[in-house]
Subunit: 85 residues, 2 copies
């Protein structure tokens, strides 16, 4: 799959993302990170680098919980299929 | 729920996380972020702050995809329930 370069703006800085994902998806992800960083920055008055690291912590927390939930849902689907078959 | 303080180490720096989550969960999340940052830092030789922001981008990308997958699985479960009922 071909890689494209997408310029995004996060916390006032521009970054170039090289990815096989569609530029629209990259912009959606960047806007999401920008909002999460800005929410944390407003609430905490921490240094920008600390905000970046703690935003990564918050996102990883949500990600691990979403992955756990995914496993739970897949198990439930599998159980339902076995019950029906 | 009571909040506890947990000291974690990410990319060589110590952070204090205040959370209602169990300290074991906080350490799991911190170890995950540390590994993702270190993988990116080794692969790219970027400045630490850029590594933090791009790690947040990668985590948000995975999170949004996991959330989309969650919605898909829930819809499938609902469809199966309606079919069975």
């Amino acid at each position: 799959m071909e890689k494209t370069k997408t310029a995004v703006r996060i916390a006032g800085h521009e970054y170039t993302i090289v990815s096989t994902d569609a530029p629209e998806h990259i912009q959606r992800v960047a806007a999401y990170v920008d909002r999460r960083m800005s929410d944390l920055a407003i609430a905490s008055r921490m240094a920008p680098n600390v905000v970046s690291v703690l935003t990564a912590m918050n996102l990883a927390d949500d990600l691990l919980k979403a992955q756990d939930e995914n496993v739970r849902l897949r198990q439930q689907l599998l159980m339902n299929t076995q019950r029906a078959g």
